[in-house]
Amino acid sequence: APTSIQNKYLKVTFDTQTGLLSGLTNLETQQTIKLMQNFYWYNASVGNSESVQTSGAYIFRPNSTTPIIINTKPEVTTLQNSVVQEVRQWFSPWVSQVVRLYAESKYLELEWTVGPIPVRDLFGKEVITRLDSSIETEGYFYTDSNGREILQRRKDYRPTWDLKQTEPVAGNYYPINTRAFIKDKQNQLTVVTDRSQGISSIYNGSLEIMVHRRLLCDDYRGVGEALSEPGDYNDGLSVRGRLLLALTPPSTSADTHRPLGQEMVFQPTLSFQQGAP
């Protein structure tokens, strides 16, 4: 992997041994965080001695709190030119990503591609990407509600009742519609998504986003089918999406993520015509 890619606003560093992200610097504000990112999957529960509840479309219930890492050392290729810089990471035949930095952009783009999720091993898989940062979050993170009110989330806690946490992973997952962030006094890392997803912060300084899932059991909520969409070729659905990352001081972060969220939701419409003007 390259040591780093950068434009006039952002510098992104990589671990040259593993090819994974290792840091992010906002060159305007001179703030830097450690930032590692990788892909993992949770093994979907098929029920256990505590409960027969399986993981399904309505119910997210991993059978372990530890997700399985897909690859610690992806194959990496790089492209650098005056318009865009790309680090292409190939984690497995069903997980890859492009880390992309445009010349004029104040955010880092992560374009992930996941699927078709293999299930021949008979394990249902719930695929996440996790961002582990040096930001001291102390169990707090923030998610939006349809791009409007942003709510504070606290690990193993509900503001209106005494929670007895029975699902240490799923019980800390929340919806994200356009954005989520973690912050401390100096730094705020905001993630803008292109679709509604599930998100959590299981560890201090981390954000994990569920990007895809393929399951083998129904969850007994009335559908009577496992969540295993066939895709074009009946071998499972492939999904490609984008995450935009912005590193800012907490006090000015909204100046960045509000326009960014708008641009993501209301993207320009492209159309084409043959020939000369």
């Binding site: 290729t77 492209l270 003007p277």
Partner: protein
């Protein structure tokens, strides 16, 4: 004739039935997707008619729904084509576009004829795997477009050179 009501109805059905993947049987999910696709096609006609009126050009306009996997027949095969960028936001935006192409050098100009910095990069392996037999573009043409508030801009893209191919990505 185009209309936006078809998409409005399809979206209303999807929202009313909580059409999140997996919370209905697969054939129902397929039906939701089909309704949305039909609605989207009607909207494309509507947008096309509106842009034709605004631009004064009746040249047929196409939309490429698979740009995210580098599939777009018109950009892949044309020696010259126009890109229209409609911005629905009430402020100007800059946006980077990736167009699937087969040439290695292109000339991109905005509506004033000013050249736009652009680069041709190889299509990634992941994209080739995803699209399978749906397209054959070897490269992506990357450049930044600007569009006015709730308006559109037009770019002209002209093939300059078919070969040689740009260098492949460097191994990590």
């Amino acid at each position: 004739e185009g209309d936006s009501n078809t998409l409005k109805h399809a979206m209303a059905v999807a929202q009313h039935h909580d059409a999140v993947s997996g919370t209905e049987k697969q054939h129902v999910a397929n039906d939701y997707a089909k309704r949305l696709a039909i609605g989207s096609a009607h909207c494309q006609v509507l947008v096309s008619n509106s842009l034709a009126l605004l631009s004064g050009s009746n040249v047929p306009r196409v939309f490429c729904e698979n740009l995210n996997i580098s599939v777009c027949p018109i950009t892949e095969s044309s020696k010259q084509f126009l890109l229209n960028v409609y911005n629905p936001l009430a402020r100007p935006v800059g946006w980077s576009v990736h167009l699937p192409v087969n040439g290695s050098v292109y000339n991109v100009t905005d509506s004033d004829g000013t050249p736009v910095d652009n680069q041709v990069i190889p299509v990634s392996k992941a994209t080739q795997d995803l699209r399978r037999d749906r397209g054959s573009a070897q490269f992506e043409l990357v450049f930044q477009v600007q569009a006015p508030p709730m308006g559109f801009s037009t770019y002209t893209i002209t093939l300059v050179q078919d070969s040689p191919a740009p260098a492949p990505p460097k191994p990590g």
